[in-house]
Every structure is written in structure tokens, then in C-alpha cells.
């Protein structure tokens, strides 16, 4: 198991380096530079380039960046927040996005699982139909529509929750954005759980467990759910990353100072370091979550765990 994890971590580091290189090349391909100001003369531009090391060949820039990264230096912002270290810029925004994303995943996965299980147990009944309708709405309606609707209904009309994000009431002002973000996850998980549960409940080992005389609840909790969870964990992983990295529109609607809006601003203003660092962090999060999922897999599924121990 330890050998396996080590191998995975090394692969991850290598993957991240490749991603970083690709990002650097893409930045070069973007039109313009961070200093698109008509008032700047060529000499002044040259000075700016030299100051930030942008006059050097791309490969040198890359290695300098990697070298600095190991000391925790992600460079500075050129444009959005002049000369602020990226680490500082992101540090204030990322936790907000992750916090709301985590809440959304939690709400979405929990309700999605419950809906899916209910739909599978009472399949082809009215409960199943209701769960299916909720799922279809959740998958097909974009999160910002939910955001607007929730914000109007529960924020404006009823006044139960704040309409805008505020640092003084983080929890209550996170609820509406989290719920709107969670709808898609909830719907996907519900549909997936339903089909997985149906398949598991049809299996011979469920029949054997049933023939032991176990009650319905024991059957579902001890035998069906655990087996159905294995594939569900896989679909959950990319959904988690999607949510944690923030959603631009939902952040706008609730005016959340998250990373979603930061990235879009940075791309528009050619703020190289911000784009690179954020994309890099997204990739890293993705890889880490995939790794966690893989390890989680082993905990749920003994076939995988034991194979890893042998290998």
C-alpha cells in the first residue's frame, strides 16, 4: 500500500510539472501582455519586462518559476492587484470558494444519496418519479438560475438568509450559494445511486442475504449500500473539484470574493502569474482528490485494497 501511494504521488508531481509547462506555453500564445497601456513607451515596457523577468526565454522563465515555487513564491500580480504576492492574493479568496464548495458537495452528495436510495427501494412508484423529476431539474437547470431564484425567494421575499456574501456572517450567507451549487451534484449522484442500487439489489448476494432473514434496512445498509458506493465515489471526485474551484456566475450573484471571479479577471487582463497559479492549484486539487478517491476506493472495496497490497 505504501509503495503504491508513493508511486502515485511521484506520478502526480511529474504530471503537475507538465501541466505547468503547458500553462507557460499557453500564456505565451495569449495576445498582448499584462502591460497593455498606450501611455507606456517601448523603453518603459522594456524596463517592466526586465523587472519581472519576462524578457528571458520561456524555458528560463519556467525554471525560475518552478525554483521559486519550491520556496512558496508564486510570483506577484502584474495587474489586478499590483505587486501583491499571488500567495497572499489567493490565500484570502481560495478558502471562501473551498468552503462554499465543500458545503455544496456535502449537501449534494447527502441528499443525492438519499434520493437515489429511496428511488431504488421504491422503484416504479410515485417516490421514484418524484426523485427522477428532481434529478432531471437538477441536471438541466444551470446553477445560476437556482442562485437567482433562491436569492429572490429566500433572500429578498422571505428574508431568511442574507442575499449577499458577508464576512461577518459566513455560514448563513454561504447557505444559498452552496445550495444552488449543490443541485447538479445532487441530481447526478441521485441518478447514479439509483441505477447502482438497482443493480446491486438484483444481485445474487442480495438474494442470499435476504434468504438469511435479514430485514430490509439491514440488507440495504450492510450489503447494498457499500457495494453501490464503490462506483459512486468515482463520479463524486470530479464533481468535488468542480465545486471547490468556485463558480464564476454564482460568485457574482452573491458577490462572493472567491477565486472564480479572480481567474476570469486575470485572464482578461493578462495577469500571467495569477492565471498560472490558479490553474496550477486547480490541477493540483484535482490530482489530490483523485488520489484520495483511489485510496478511499481501497477502503470500501477489499478487492482493490488487497490487490494493491500484493502489488
Amino acid at each position: 500500500m505504501r509503495k503504491y501511494v508513493l508511486k502515485r504521488v511521484l506520478t502526480a508531481v511529474f504530471t503537475l510539472l507538465v501541466i505547468l509547462l503547458v500553462l507557460f506555453i499557453l500564456m505565451q500564445l495569449m495576445p498582448g501582455s499584462p502591460f497593455n497601456d498606450e501611455k507606456l513607451t517601448d523603453d518603459q515596457l522594456q524596463l517592466l519586462y526586465e523587472k519581472y523577468g519576462l524578457d528571458k526565454p520561456i524555458i528560463v522563465q519556467f525554471f525560475n518559476y518552478v525554483k521559486n515555487m519550491f520556496t512558496g513564491d508564486f510570483g506577484v500580480s502584474y495587474k489586478i492587484s499590483k505587486n501583491t504576492p499571488i500567495a497572499q492574493l489567493i490565500a484570502s479568496r481560495l478558502p471562501i470558494s473551498i468552503g462554499i464548495g465543500f458545503m455544496a458537495v456535502f449537501i449534494g452528495a447527502l441528499i443525492g444519496l438519499i434520493l437515489g436510495i429511496v428511488a431504488a427501494i421504491w422503484h416504479d412508484t410515485i417516490l421514484d418519479t418524484i426523485a427522477t423529476i428532481i434529478s432531471v431539474i437538477g441536471v438541466s437547470v444551470p446553477s445560476y438560475v437556482f442562485a437567482l431564484a433562491l436569492s429572490f425567494e429566500f433572500g429578498f421575499t422571505l428574508g431568511w438568509f442574507p442575499m449577499l456574501y458577508s464576512n461577518s456572517a459566513q455560514l448563513s450567507s454561504s447557505i444559498l450559494p452552496s445550495v444552488s451549487l449543490s443541485m447538479f451534484t445532487m441530481a447526478s449522484i441521485a441518478r447514479f445511486t439509483r441505477s447502482e442500487m438497482m443493480e446491486v439489489m438484483d444481485s445474487e448476494y442480495m438474494l442470499l442475504a435476504e434468504s438469511k432473514g435479514l430485514s430490509g434496512r439491514a440488507l440495504i445498509l450492510r450489503h447494498a449500500l457499500r457495494n453501490a458506493l464503490i462506483p459512486i465515489v468515482t463520479v463524486l471526485a470530479p464533481l468535488i473539484v468542480d465545486l471547490m474551484t468556485g463558480s464564476l456566475v454564482v460568485e457574482k450573484i452573491f458577490s462572493i470574493p472567491g477565486v472564480g471571479s479572480l481567474l476570469v479577471n486575470a485572464i482578461q487582463s493578462n495577469d500571467y502569474n495569477v492565471v498560472i497559479s490558479l490553474s496550477f492549484i486547480y490541477s493540483a486539487m484535482y490530482i489530490v482528490i483523485m488520489l484520495v478517491v483511489d485510496i478511499l476506493y481501497g477502503i470500501i472495496d477489499p478487492r482493490i485494497r488487497l490487490a494493491k497490497e500484493d502489488g
Binding site: 442475504a209 434468504s211 477489499p302
Partner: protein, 362 residues
């Protein structure tokens, strides 16, 4: 009357499907006494498994029991003899009193009938803990004992292993251990060897036989393999299209079959002692039970069918005290028809083989 354990009387079951009502079980009777073995033989789809699921109260939710009773005799919690019609009891009662406790089942495919995410030990202990609240330690010791009883070595080590770490034959032994966990009175084996290697099949059958003898329990085999039946069963029920068409003790069915369907089944058994290089098959396929069958369901495939077969379903004609068959050929008015020559030759050879082995055939 000897000690009856289960009596299935006039059981009649339909399934609601999107295509319509499928009349899967059309009035069947099966009797079994303590310590005995009965085999239910028939093609796929003849209703063997459905009958047994009805006895276990685990019929699919679209099943409708039209009529009949399944009487089960047991000793209740106070040690008093009791009898119950399983079909009249609700699911909860069956779950708490019958399933796993007094009737357990061995399933066909051990590769799929064990929960892949639970250790062998937990799966064996689960039933005992559920029904009897057996303390964990005691359940563990009992499970180890069961594993040894079903012939698994390193029982302690195996307890902590998962199904995928065991071979098919071992898994089937585990399934048997699970079935025996609560000391049932009746074991239902649903094609217990079909999914196994031929070399393992005999060992599993021997194991079931040994367990049956030691524990003095009744066993019902559901199978399409007449070879299996010959080695294990006391009585045989031949089932066709939801009906029992011939019943008798094992010698009667093998050496003196009366129903043309039984003739077909016996002829279709592979045989090495013949010059015929073709394997006999029964022509055609079973009727679609979506449509009500008029007359004898086997008539269309039966070359001995008479006019009456298309009009009226034959009743059970008695051949001997234990031997009955549902074919109009046994009616006194019917022409005398003998079983096919190939089959009678073959039966003679089988008898000869048994005699030379020094056994009695009565």
C-alpha cells in the same frame, strides 16, 4: 404418517409482466419428510426456483399466489411441534422464523452469491447474530467450526478473507456454511453444482450428503442435471411448464419412467456406452406460459401425443405407491406405448452396472 417437514399443496403462481400475466406455476404438489432428499428436475424456466422462493417467502414483488398452501412443520421456540402455512404469513414473520433459521438456501453460482465487500466470517456470523443475538465470540467460534465442517482448512485465516480470495469450490463450501449457520431443518439447494468444475461437483454433492446425514436434515435439490439427482435424491419430481409431470422414488424414475418427457430427459443425458454418436435432444422448446396452455403442455413436443392431449390436461395416474405420472398414455384406453428402444437398452445397461457393483436396485 412419518415426520413430514414440508408439504406444498396445489401451489399456483403467476407473474405480472409488461407483456401480461405469466402463469409460471400451475398447481404443484411436493412432499418431504425429515432427513429425506427430494429433487425437482426440469428445464430452465419450468418453475423450479420459483417454487422454492415461494417456500422461502422471497418471491419477486410481481408474483401473485393464486392458490395453494406451503405447510411447514417445525419445532417452535418453546420446543412444541408446530405447523404453519408459509403463504399465509407476512414477510416479517417469515424473515424472523423461517429464513436462514429453519429453511436455508444454497445458491447456484458461488462467484456471485457472496457479498464481495464483506469477509467470509462476517457473512457466516451474520445470520446467527441476527436471529439469536449470539455473542460475537461465540458466533466466531461457531463459524470456524462450520468452516471446518464444510471442509475448509485454515478456517481461522479464511474467516478474515474476502470471497475473491477463494476458489469457486471453496466459495460454495462457504455458501453451505452460511446456510448451516442457524442449524436449519431444511436445506434448499438451487443448482448447487451447475456453476462449478466437474471435478468439484462431486465433492460438493458429497459434502451436502454428509452434512445431511450428520444433521439429519431434509434437502430439496433443484436441478436440471439428472446425473446429480441419481447420486443424491430419494425422490424425484419431474417438472415441466409449471407442473409436476412425474414423481417417484429415484429407482422408479430412472429404471421405470412413464412420462414421455422423463424419457426425453433421460435420453438426453450424455452416455459413453453407446455407438450412437449423436446426443439426443428433446425437440422444440417449452411453451410460453404467457398464454394459457390447453391440454397437455408437453403435447407439442411429444411424438407419442394423442388427440386427447390437445384437449384435456392429463391427471396424475398412479403407477405404484410412490410413483405417479401425468400422461394420457397411462389411461387404460390408451394404446400400449413403450419407451424408445435406445432408452430401454440404456436403462438395462445402467441396471447391469448397478448389479455388478453389488447393489440392490429396489
Amino acid at each position: 404418517m412419518a415426520d413430514k417437514i414440508i408439504e406444498i399443496n396445489n401451489l399456483d403462481i403467476s407473474f405480472k409482466t409488461t407483456a401480461g400475466l405469466v402463469h409460471a406455476i400451475r398447481g404443484i404438489n411436493v412432499d418431504l419428510e425429515k432427513g429425506e432428499t427430494v429433487a425437482i428436475v426440469g428445464e430452465s424456466g419450468s418453475g423450479k426456483s420459483v417454487t422454492m422462493k415461494a417456500a422461502m417467502g422471497i418471491l419477486a414483488s410481481n408474483a401473485v399466489v393464486n392458490s395453494g398452501e406451503i405447510l411447514f412443520h417445525y419445532t417452535d421456540d418453546d420446543g412444541q411441534p408446530a405447523m404453519v402455512d408459509i403463504l399465509q404469513k407476512d414477510k416479517r414473520w417469515i424473515r424472523n422464523n423461517i429464513n436462514g433459521r429453519r429453511i436455508s438456501m444454497v445458491f447456484q453460482d458461488p462467484m456471485t452469491s457472496l457479498d464481495p465487500t464483506m469477509t467470509i466470517g462476517k457473512q457466516i456470523m451474520e445470520g446467527m447474530i441476527w436471529h439469536y443475538k449470539t455473542p460475537k465470540k461465540e458466533a466466531w467460534d461457531k463459524a470456524v467450526g462450520l468452516l471446518k465442517e464444510v471442509g475448509i482448512e485454515d478456517a481461522q485465516k479464511r474467516m478474515k478473507q474476502y470471497p475473491h480470495q477463494l476458489s469457486g469450490g471453496m466459495r460454495q463450501r462457504v455458501v453451505i456454511a452460511i446456510a448451516l449457520a442457524c442449524d436449519p431443518d431444511l436445506l434448499i439447494c438451487d443448482e448447487p453444482t451447475t456453476a462449478l468444475d466437474v471435478t468439484i461437483q462431486a465433492k460438493i454433492l458429497e459434502l451436502i450428503k454428509k452434512v445431511q446425514k450428520e444433521r439429519h436434515i431434509a434437502v430439496i435439490y433443484i436441478t436440471h442435471d439428472l446425473g446429480v439427482v441419481a447420486t443424491v435424491a430419494d425422490y424425484v419430481n419431474v417438472m415441466y411448464a409449471g407442473k409436476i409431470v412425474e414423481v417417484g422414488n429415484v429407482n422408479e424414475i430412472y429404471y421405470d419412467p412413464k412420462h414421455p418427457y422423463t424419457w426425453g430427459l433421460l435420453s438426453a443425458m450424455p452416455d459413453l456406452d453407446t455407438d450412437d454418436d449423436r446426443l439426443y435432444t428433446i425437440p422444440g422448446s417449452p411453451p410460453n406460459l404467457l398464454h394459457e396452455v390447453k391440454g397437455d403442455a408437453f403435447a407439442a413436443r411429444n411424438k407419442y401425443a394423442m388427440k386427447i392431449d390437445d384437449e384435456a390436461d392429463p391427471p396424475m395416474f398412479q403407477v405404484s405407491k410412490t410413483h405417479w405420472a401425468a400422461t394420457w398414455l397411462l389411461d387404460p384406453r390408451a394404446p400400449k406405448v413403450q419407451m424408445p428402444k435406445e432408452l430401454s437398452d440404456r436403462i438395462e445397461r445402467m441396471k447391469e452396472a448397478v448389479r455388478s457393483a453389488g447393489k440392490s436396485i429396489d
